[in-house]
């Protein structure tokens, strides 16, 4: 074993030699990546570079895509998420996801939060659930906006509030990791900054990985940045990965430099 392989404890997720296929098409080529605990890792790159595919492979969301197949390992607490005996539903509980378009359930704000715990066999009392709902909404910086209208529909909120509701909903099942797939691309700039602030707060308790099209967002709001690019066979590859400050001031790879300085393509 190499040094790198033994030293997995400081990382929440360790991706090793991952290939992802859609049918016969290889979408991801040999990606290895360590996601640091309690940090925000941004995945960036041009359209089609595979960054969302990589993100979705971190909690087996790609299982839901017909014909998708993952090779290699994704280690979560040393356990390969793609091992045969692993329950994908449990994986997605512990590694939550927030999507591009806010997608609250057509239910009350309260029930949006309570839904996850309930289907996971919630055994607590009503007042304990009240506490949980409040805690999640507070963590998502939404409590003050909605505390007087918990029974109103989640769909009545603004886009930014809906996205924070989705984050609160993800927190309700007590995950360790939150994956975010372009969580701000449907939001206005102020809502975007609120989500970024929120990410900074959440990182103290959770590990966050975010796919973003917005390089400025990666620069502002992440600790580590991974840059992906399509190779000649149109498969996504990891080009460079490192502390965000380093990657944006002094990238090691010419291709990274070309992309972040806008000289790409």
């Amino acid at each position: 074993m190499t040094e790198k392989q033994t030293d997995t404890a400081q990382y929440t997720l360790v991706v090793r030699n991952m290939n992802v296929y859609y049918g016969a098409f290889r979408a991801i080529n040999n990606v290895s990546l360590n996601i640091e605990r309690n940090k925000i890792t941004a995945l960036i790159g041009p359209s089609g570079c595979g960054k969302s595919t990589v993100l979705r492979s971190l909690n087996r969301m790609n299982d839901l895509v017909n014909g998708a197949r993952v090779e290699g390992e994704v280690l979560f607490h040393e356990q390969n998420l793609y091992a045969n005996d692993v329950d994908a539903v449990e994986v997605r509980r512990r590694i939550g996801m927030v999507f591009q378009k806010p997608n609250p359930f057509p239910k009350s704000i309260y029930d949006n939060i309570a839904f996850g715990p309930r289907i996971n066999g919630w055994k607590g009392t009503k007042s304990e659930m009240d506490d949980l709902v409040e805690r999640c909404l507070r963590q998502a910086a939404l409590w003050d906006d909605v505390k007087d209208k918990l029974k109103e529909s989640g769909l009545a909120l603004s886009g930014g509030q809906q996205q924070r509701l989705c984050i609160a909903r993800a927190l309700a099942v007590e995950p360790e990791v939150i994956l975010m797939d372009e969580p701000c691309s449907a939001l206005d700039p102020i809502s975007t900054l609120k989500i970024e602030e929120l990410m900074m707060e959440l990182r103290q308790r959770y590990t966050i990985a975010i796919v973003t099209h917005n390089m400025q967002q990666a620069a502002r709001a992440s600790d580590y940045t991974a840059f992906f690019l399509m190779n000649d066979q149109r498969a996504g590859e990891l080009v460079e990965y490192g502390p965000t400050g380093d990657l944006f001031t002094n990238p090691k790879d010419k291709r990274t430099e070309d992309y972040i300085t806008g000289r790409f393509g």
Partner: protein, 225 residues
């Protein structure tokens, strides 16, 4: 891709180049006046200094505008942020040239006194260093700082010799106290010019490599030890 951005960067680079040339000319003219004890060029240096100051503000304004509107990254960001620094370094060098010019004019009304020989050497070296630093900047030469550092050691040695000469002259020829003092100030301005050129070299290294080389700090530590 990014035509407007590249155009703005090229314009900034041109302004820095223009400013560097003007500053180098100011230094040259001030020293020309000094050598010939002749005030015309010195007066011109003083009159032209506001052009240099004005360029500095233009560069600042343009650099901030590029940062705001184009959000440069990586090497581009290093270039633009270092241009802000370089504009202020060059502006200071311009001020030292102006300082020398003012001292030359003051000297002209005083009794004649031969310059200490070190000043001529310092003047040549400081000018060569400035030219080297400006060339290195345009060629993005990361080695410049270390090369300039060596010349700077010589300048520092010559400055100390000038100081000794000044004290000796003041003691032996009290009639020339003023002029001796002004020569020392001129030497001091030259020493400052050399020092600022090393800053230019360091900024250039950072633009080229992305690494802030603290070799001057290391050297100071080593010199102390």
């Amino acid at each position: 891709m990014r035509e407007r951005f590249l155009h703005a960067l090229a314009e900034l680079e041109g302004q820095i180049r223009d400013m560097g040339n003007r500053v180098a000319l100011a230094v040259r003219d001030a020293l020309w006046s000094l050598e010939r004890n002749e005030p015309i060029f010195a007066r011109q240096v003083i009159a032209n200094d506001n052009v240099i100051d004005e360029l500095r503000y233009q560069i600042e304004t343009n650099a901030l505008s590029v940062i705001t509107r184009q959000q440069p990254m990586a090497r581009d960001l290093r270039v633009v942020s270092m241009f802000l620094e370089l504009a202020s370094e060059l502006e200071r060098i311009g001020d030292y040239a102006e300082g020398i010019a003012e001292l030359v004019i003051r000297c002209i009304e005083l009794p004649q006194l031969a310059q200490p020989p070190q000043i001529k050497t310092m003047a040549l070296k400081a000018q060569a260093m400035l030219r080297d630093a400006l060339d290195a900047l345009h060629n993005r030469d990361p080695q410049a700082a270390e090369r300039l550092e060596l010349s700077d050691d010589e300048i520092d040695g010559l400055y100390r010799e000038t100081l000794a000469w000044t004290f000796a002259t003041m003691r032996s020829q009290p009639d020339h106290v003023e002029r001796a003092m002004y020569y020392l100030w001129i030497a001091h301005n030259l020493e400052r010019i050399a020092d600022r050129t090393i800053n230019i070299g360091e900024r250039t290294s950072f633009i080229a490599t992305g690494i802030i080389d603290k070799h001057r700090l290391r050297k100071e530590e080593a010199d102390k030890a």
